[in-house]
Symmetry: C2
Subunit: 88 residues, 2 copies
DNA sequence: TGGGTGATTCAAATTCGTTTGAATCAGTTG
DNA sequence: CAACTGATTCAAACGAATTTGAATCACCCA
């Protein structure tokens, strides 16, 4: 849960889910933060397996891990009465 | 999200949901931590409205806020394909 | 009333995550 | 190759959250 306690990182997760794979420069929050600082946050997400990175030429594309949102929701106590959606 | 980034506090939320209203001493994690430290964590949860406290004689009972789990799950990006449970 | 327990508060110390600045890597282009 | 851009790494500085120890509060009971 600590990985998404930071708003910058939570926003990255959210953007990746809505927009799919994106390169680092596209994921910059508004207003932008220093590149090395952003890199640090991406590394935190990488290190806990919530996102994966792949180099594409000069750029690096980030992708939300398949099970990222499942893992996050599962880490929270479940609401009683909440029904699970069908797996894709 | 930062409120549940700490494992001690996440466990309190979980216990309160499973076991319902409990006094502070019942909520102590295993192994127990110093009372004042635990008090601090409970205050963090109180301050963001995830739990409420009520004195009962010498003891203080903690209760999970009605909307606590909804708020936590809502703070995360939603899984695609996940259906919402009916509200109680 | 005095002693004891459950719990909270406070300030100081400590720890941990984040930020910063400089350096480096990888790949592209002139 | 040299220069440039996108991105990452590293160590040091910083700041916020947590831990600690002591004091305090609230209540109950002998």
């Amino acid at each position: 849960m600590a990985a998404v306690a930071d708003p910058i990182r939570l926003e990255v997760i959210d953007r990746l889910q809505r927009e799919g794979t994106r390169c680092v420069c596209d994921l910059q929050p508004a207003p932008p933060i220093p590149g090395n600082q952003f890199s640090y946050h991406l590394k935190v997400l990488r290190d806990c397996g919530l996102v994966t990175a792949a180099r594409r030429g000069r750029w690096v594309d980030y992708t939300l891990a398949e099970d990222a949102l499942d893992r996050l929701h599962a880490a929270l106590p479940q609401r009683i009465g909440a029904r699970q959606g069908a797996r894709v």
